[in-house]
Point group: D2
Chain length 346, copies 4
Amino acid sequence: MANRTLNVGVIGCGRIGHIHAENLATRIPGARLAATADPAINAAKKVATQHHVGKAVADYHELLADPAIEAVAVCSSTDTHAQIIQEAAAAGKHIFCEKPIDYDLARIRAALAVVEKAQVKLQIGFNRRFDPSFAKVRELVAAGAVGQPHVIRITSRDPAPPPLDYIKVSGGIFLDMTIHDFDMVRFLSGSEAEEIYAIGDALVDPAIRDAGDVDTAIVTMRLKNGALATIDNSRQAIYGYDQRIEVFGSKGSASAGNRTPDAHLLTDAAGVHAAKPLHFFLERYAEAYVIEMRAFVDAVLHDQAPPATGLDGLQPVIMGLAATRSLREGRPVKLSEITATGTGHS
Amino acid sequence: MANRTLNVGVIGCGRIGHIHAENLATRIPGARLAATADPAINAAKKVATQHHVGKAVADYHELLADPAIEAVAVCSSTDTHAQIIQEAAAAGKHIFCEKPIDYDLARIRAALAVVEKAQVKLQIGFNRRFDPSFAKVRELVAAGAVGQPHVIRITSRDPAPPPLDYIKVSGGIFLDMTIHDFDMVRFLSGSEAEEIYAIGDALVDPAIRDAGDVDTAIVTMRLKNGALATIDNSRQAIYGYDQRIEVFGSKGSASAGNRTPDAHLLTDAAGVHAAKPLHFFLERYAEAYVIEMRAFVDAVLHDQAPPATGLDGLQPVIMGLAATRSLREGRPVKLSEITATGTGHS
Amino acid sequence: MANRTLNVGVIGCGRIGHIHAENLATRIPGARLAATADPAINAAKKVATQHHVGKAVADYHELLADPAIEAVAVCSSTDTHAQIIQEAAAAGKHIFCEKPIDYDLARIRAALAVVEKAQVKLQIGFNRRFDPSFAKVRELVAAGAVGQPHVIRITSRDPAPPPLDYIKVSGGIFLDMTIHDFDMVRFLSGSEAEEIYAIGDALVDPAIRDAGDVDTAIVTMRLKNGALATIDNSRQAIYGYDQRIEVFGSKGSASAGNRTPDAHLLTDAAGVHAAKPLHFFLERYAEAYVIEMRAFVDAVLHDQAPPATGLDGLQPVIMGLAATRSLREGRPVKLSEITATGTGHS
Amino acid sequence: MANRTLNVGVIGCGRIGHIHAENLATRIPGARLAATADPAINAAKKVATQHHVGKAVADYHELLADPAIEAVAVCSSTDTHAQIIQEAAAAGKHIFCEKPIDYDLARIRAALAVVEKAQVKLQIGFNRRFDPSFAKVRELVAAGAVGQPHVIRITSRDPAPPPLDYIKVSGGIFLDMTIHDFDMVRFLSGSEAEEIYAIGDALVDPAIRDAGDVDTAIVTMRLKNGALATIDNSRQAIYGYDQRIEVFGSKGSASAGNRTPDAHLLTDAAGVHAAKPLHFFLERYAEAYVIEMRAFVDAVLHDQAPPATGLDGLQPVIMGLAATRSLREGRPVKLSEITATGTGHS
């Protein structure tokens, strides 16, 4: 089994679909890019041509109907994820799906139920788990190097806000941006949040406030294992993408800082100067995208549990909904308040 | 005026009194250690002898009555600070007082009123403001290098908890330990807190919980200038004293990490290894204690405002009381709730 | 012209040929991997199949005879380089050739003469010039950020010695290993060496001494622009590949350290621990191999001078011969002594 | 014995004498500053007054004649060192002497012979040995953490050249500046140099060439234990005092970088910016001066060998003379060539 090749179709050929297609075609041992799909057929064709792939279609149902395709990478827009997951699972395809599955708990649960029933693999694209620095910190925590975790600290800042039109439909900062950090808290701590409190404001751009969102936020939470966590977010770090984590515990602290494009130092009369962090997620997580896809392909080929499951897709959405409600209501919100309501929409 | 010498008496010859006495005797241009006082007369005498000082008394009133002594450094136990400040001010002495002034807002205000009336200088011993790294960050923020501050992050961890008997009378972690971080938030941001939320637990030692306190905490707050802040505390970092700050704003980020006893690196088959942070405040802030006393002496000699005033002594206590109430009641607490009650005790 | 695709054949499908083939096939805009050649035909076929290339041959002359192939990447064994360069140039192919061209000055000069006459591009594979950290240092030096260069310092250590059989035919450490550092001195300084002095010994493995070579060396030199340089080499750094440079000048210092596989830090009771450097050149210079091939393809497509020319291939060999003679004779050796002898062999 | 106090007189009250006097008066347990001497009597008096010392004289012979004074710190000009050492030893005083003892080997040997006969302690002021970073590296090397040393690398640069008048009588860069680095090579390696080669030029200031000296140099050497060493020097690093060392060996590498006045980082649109190194030796080695004097006082009080002996004072002078001859004659020079000549002057 380890020697056979997994035929993977990519659904959605935008920026992230392009990355996964290229990785599947060139950097994932055991995988073959077998087909591409995109309603914008030219996008699908362009990726296919570039990687010597014969099949490029507008309608992803053609991929699902093709018995030669054993797995799909769902890189389409978020509002289509839950639907495609259900259809792909029903068609017996293994699924790699970009995050988030959906913002509606009921739709997520329905999709996961179909996956469960079809007994296919589902891996959610929480790429940061595969960043070598963050993975190393998790490995150290899991190995007991910091003892019992007491405090999780995450700083997560984007270089610039997305377009306002995007923000309006994004579900808000906690579901759009912090969701990665919520996953990281779970990943690093190996525990679940119990109660969340959030403060935030539009300090970068007042238009974001007018759109009903914030661009700067601090989230704190209590975890079930007793640890406390704090996340600080900004939509705009003028110096680039700022992604730092720390797990502090009874035996020490494991942390990971930013990566830089180079390791130069200039020392002159004004001081010591070094490079800024890698500019954004495409640069910072380029390696993580390769590693996560290798992990998915390995999980399918060796019939193992994927390293980021459907449950891992569900929980950060619950956390995002709790943070959203906390900010709105100015009080700490228990996750049980969210899960009790069914959809998470208050 | 700049060429004259200020005669300073030290009241309280314990650990911190010893440090200030030695600095006054040997490292503060323009100052002279003129006398020492301690109810344990041998402690007073030991310090005096060591630094060639003729006057060592058990009762500090003798210092206040001595016209040759122009200023006092109050290093006695916290419960005596407010009383000594009032008496020293009434006696016309300039006052350097260790933090905190008191835990009772009414007593602090009464003391400050006497100082105000007497027109003497009062500087509170917020030594961290004078740490070269933190002072540099403040300088950068004040110069606009990070633009408008958006997020303040402080990590503050002690190497080990104090004795349980101390914890029982300490006023709780927020008044005993976080108070320095509250001052740092004010110092770095140049703004005041509006609302505070705190979570915490006894993760280091359950006996601390039994004593009614926590040993691990995260505090978040909204500031009047719009910035958000987060502080994480632990009573026990197994690797030593961990003191880090960051001010993130519209134009960048200014931060300061720990200092180490040396700058060695060992690279071997297992990795790259460096020294731990300086162990505790005596090592980390040795230089800061000298600089703060120089600042006090300069303020008196040049009739300038001290860099850490009575108000600076008052505000962190209000913040500590708000955090204490927040933890107890599980909700964000506005500082106006505390100041409205008069004493701060709910 | 910028939009057309350059058809490149790879000659020699060993480790480094494999890397260039993969990069040409997947990461070099404007290039197409058109054919592979290797006397071990299976090696050629394996690479071709992997990258959807139709042509794989045992005899590279077939590539040189193919009018569809416009450029070749020469990745065969060193003793074949000069010969293939001459034949490829005569066939009108542009040439990317792994370093070194040869160890014999006369043969190098003969090859370069053919290239010159054929007016084809020749780029030598001094990959380190394209390492982002080293390239940044060069850029800073060229921009005047360090002023007039005074001292160049290079540390260059391998994780482990090559097999003894390899060492015996390697030409010695200065031609096999230091040659990269000699190129770096020229690249960083923008100047040429005038006189070289070398000391060395077999401290890692006495069998290397028996083979007539050393495994540890320090080389110093005077450059024509007045700067001084020092290189220290070891065949065995137990912690991995150690590649550091510094250019110190009248206005400051530009340096570049090692890169690590991740950016984690573990702080525990024993100290602060970080990752070792990337293990060896395949990891450290993975990105540099892509960038150098892009540069070659761009140079051909835009008819520009390649960034590492035939002269750049010649000079480090002269320097290596001078260092070899210096070590043998225990005295500083002028480069003019080497070039005067014709072949460089004393 | 450990509880008694050593009475120390300071001879020479210039910059360095001032430092030692202040340290003896305030920071050296077990020591008492008992007297000061300086031909400029006001300098002696100023220091004495500042530290409550009763005795300040113009002629140091008065100190040597005073039976209450048990030890002297010789901080006078270099040309007086050998003479004072002889007289002090003859008077039975223990001696701390600033480096170098002298530039003439015969005079050094004569002085050491008197010390040997008088059985007094002599410690030479190689302050860098007591720098916590360098001491830690030595400790690691001595403990075998890097295995057998193979390469020693030292970078040593001053912020600015001394006055030209000083340079003219300084003995040249190798005796005036590199001498510290020669000591460091011996200290770090635990071995002696066998052969030295030096290159150098006046790149900072042509007037230094006119004065017969160089301002930029690289020295390499073979040590008796087989290790190789390289030192690079500059009289002018525009960014301040640059003092870095590395010992590379069979099991790894121990190194030490510069210290900075603070640990701030500013990250903005242009990059990451940190503080320059501490400006010069007074700042960088402030702590080392205290530690070396403690070591001297402890050695006397506990009748132990001082950590920097007369031999340690002699050997770097021999190395400096060898480097000087190497530069002049353009060839490697064995130390045995220098010692054979008696005075070291060729």
